[in-house]
Symmetry: C2
């Protein structure tokens, strides 16, 4: 395969789409804005699901499933939500088609629903309608439920994984007996996302609340994780909302508290989606294709036996099979979510070695092992790491007896190296600006710009209109940035702390 990836430096959006396509991650479908997630892309999603799901369960959550359809009147009950999602709703109005011989298939006009159904854009309303039946007393709380589901938000401009009409996600919806517990949960879950982003995706993130202008419709406040892509644009990668009593009030969901009084329940919701796959791609990949952290890689190791004749190939294949069996047989552990290491033996002998290597690089396989006749003379193999392209990342003469342990260690090292590298990139791009002119200048360089802001929607809107930058988050002190007061770079009014601006996906 010739290298089919447009260089990132030349055209970053095309580079992204080339990787999505050529690494077999996703395709556009004929259905406007809906994507087909191809096997390699879906395998990454499965591993993300497994990692996140384990973290949710370790923090006391269980999964459940709620209806795809939401009666229009439910959405109307929470005004901000209705306004926030009205323009993106797919609406089911009929429940039957008419198929008559010789006639074109059509919607049956006699089968109109009394009340239109919305395909869920998010499930707060249907879930809080359900919780009303589940919650009678403080003893029924907390409810700590998550749902893995598809959702639909009608989008006019879409981009694979990053913005699609239908996407896959998880949405946690919890109910609590008091405000403090709900706020603790909101914070706990944004930290789960942070841990997942860093430990599984090797993607460092900034954590903090959104500004009022960027929060979720219906939330009191929204906490988020924000990552920095290699093109200098930010990506919101997960959000956790403190919803107060808004949804409990909208659905009359009250409970008897310990003092015997009726009280509305306190809510949170939190979600992360297949958008994460877009973030993964843009954080690590290079001009050779996908770079995937080992913990999320569909294939961990590609073994490439080499040889010009059958006589040369047979022992190479045998050695490859032996190594593959050893790798697959390693004890399962938490690092790989108790799944075996996945090994692919490449038998594309009709292709040149260079083509074969490029193919595995394109698909982001973290480790490639080459076994040729000369290696076998020394009972050895060559091991190449995907995160360090070229000769620098390739070690020759690794003894076959011991290669399994070497590769197992290498996979863990690649995971750690990717995070370190991404963090160094992100931090190098992080700038501060004290004046609006300085801000505009630094914004052009990409990356987060930390600047003082007066806290008003008006100033936020003005900055966005003039620079296309948005406030990504008001960073917590835990991010390691200084939290100190100052003056708004635009109005000069007092500011409690610098906030992080960036252009974003």
């Amino acid at each position: 395969m010739a290298n089919v990836i447009t260089p990132r430096a030349k055209d970053s959006p095309q580079w992204y789409l080339d990787i999505v396509k050529e690494a077999g991650l996703a395709d556009n479908s004929d259905v406007r804005g809906c994507m087909v997630i191809k096997p390699t892309g879906y395998a990454i999603w499965e591993k993300m699901q497994r990692g996140l799901d384990r973290m949710f369960k370790d923090t006391g959550h269980v999964n459940a499933y709620f209806p795809l359809f939401i009666p229009m009147s439910y959405l109307a009950k929470e005004e901000e939500m209705a306004e926030g999602f009205a323009k993106e709703c797919a609406v089911v109005t009929h429940y039957r088609l008419k198929a008559e011989k010789g006639q074109p298939l059509k919607v049956d006009p006699t089968a109109e629903l009394e009340e239109p159904l919305i395909v869920r854009p998010t499930s707060e309303t249907i879930i809080w309608r359900t919780y009303k039946d589940w919650i009678q007393s403080y003893r029924d709380l907390p409810i700590l439920v998550n749902q893995w589901a598809n959702v639909v938000r009608w989008e006019m401009r879409t981009r694979l994984f990053l913005r699609t009409t239908e996407f896959l996600w998880q949405e946690g919806h919890t109910a609590h007996a008091n405000q403090q517990e709900a706020e603790e949960e909101t914070l706990r879950m944004v930290n789960v996302y942070k841990a997942f982003a860093e430990e599984f995706m090797a993607m460092p993130v900034m954590v903090g609340p959104k500004s009022e202008g960027q929060k979720f419709p219906g939330a009191i406040y929204t906490l988020c994780i924000e990552a920095m892509m290699q093109d200098g644009k930010a990506l919101q990668a997960g959000t956790s909302h403190f919803l107060g009593q808004n949804f409990a009030k909208a659905f009359d969901c009250s409970f008897q508290n310990e003092k015997g009084q009726r009280e509305f329940a306190w809510a949170t919701s939190w979600g992360a989606s297949t958008r994460l796959i877009g973030g993964l791609i843009m954080t690590h990949s290079d001009d050779n294709g996908l770079v995937c952290p080992p913990r999320l890689a569909p294939v961990h190791v590609a073994i490439v036996p080499l040889g010009r004749t059958d006589a040369e190939r047979a022992p190479a294949i045998a050695a490859a099979e032996k190594l593959a069996a050893e790798l697959r047989g390693l004890p399962r552990d938490d690092f790989f979510s108790y799944e075996p290491i996945t090994v692919k033996i490449d038998v594309m002998f009709d292709k040149q070695p260079g083509y074969r290597y490029a193919e595995h690089e394109l698909r982001g396989v973290p480790v490639r092992v080459e076994i040729g006749p000369k290696d076998l003379e020394k009972q050895a193999c060559a091991v190449a790491r995907r995160d360090v392209p070229g000769k620098e990342g390739k070690q020759f003469g690794i003894p076959l007896d011991g290669a399994t342990a070497h590769i197992n260690t290498l996979l863990r090292d690649i995971q750690a190296s990717l995070l370190k590298k991404a963090k160094a990139y992100r931090d190098a791009g992080l700038k501060t600006a004290d004046t609006y002119a300085e801000f505009q200048e630094k914004l052009e360089l990409g990356g987060f710009v930390a600047a003082h802001w007066d806290g008003t929607r008006e100033t936020e809107d003005k900055i966005q209109a003039e620079t296309k930058a948005t406030i990504r988050c008001i960073p917590f002190a835990e991010n390691g940035l200084e939290v100190a007061p100052g003056s708004c770079m635009v109005t000069g009014a007092p500011s409690k702390q610098r906030v992080l601006f960036a252009r974003a996906y």
Copy 2:
């Protein structure tokens, strides 16, 4: 808790609904025909997914994801499918709502779709439209893809898990270079379902093709697994369809074969759904509640420490925690899909022991361990197995030192015993009939009735109209039933073999 389950002998449908409700498996929602799958029900589904998914992958399949929406014109391309599903389709006609201050939320009439979208009732059409782009040459085949998804079939009469408007399922869609491979796949996958039903669900099944009248719309033939519920009614639990070239032709999906000729690809599809949870309940449960095979149980072991005073309770709780830690720490193995054993320690000391025991029985926990002051004097515990209710299934004096191994073995024994018991029940109910009068008489007793049938749709329809029984399958010889020719019990015309009739869900 008083026993809240209607006895099965008194009212089997109510017994079923009581278990679904009281064991916390599912609820009806306000959205017509759509259910809420509650945490315990969903935990069973997750374990089913994990077991099936492993089997799919072990047979070479990968997962992918295709759009929720299907353009109406796609459905129209395959005539049988259009006719088969037209009356059950949820139709999206608009993509926006109108939210104006002070006005009720409404569908925006200016946002009507040019072409209505169907919420997928099954995905053959959208997938074969996609495969057209994936398949150019025989080298692209086979495609062995599965999808985990929600589907919608508008149902007028619904019953939790067994028949709902929205349900969760998996649908495999494979493409092959020739008929033989596709037929082999069709058979392979029905056998995967059989293995899953028996090994995980402990639910014995009959395997064979459906009659023409019962096959899937668009299929050449349909293979199925059929289980027998405790009320004598059959349940179709999984189907595998040989689709021939129907969908490839409908979507113009041809490839260049090894001889350089264009040929249409050969297709299969196969699916199993949350309906399996209904089958699980009706196969094993009793008047005390859910009985769940250990391999699919959300909680494997409930430990009930006992004591009247804090001084009595403290050592019981400590012993419970020690035992729980030992059980959770057992090496992970294939039997439990490489997940740890799940243990719940019951601290409902404000309830009587009998209430506490009943609660775990209701929820189908396979093993209950009781640890009270008298047990502790002997450093022992009592161990009760859910599948054998009452004293018969309870062993006293199991030494705490060794209880972990005892329980681990017991869980495996329960799994095997449930299958054996269900098989004995199914086989005891299996009858043969040689005349139509005998058939009608035996049908009233419940269970499968093996009878000769002339192979015509007309006779099949007549039997169904008169007896409500349908042909569940034309059993393969592998089921152990005699396959020999005879004469149709209704018309006397020749019959190749007995087929299995039953009333069914």
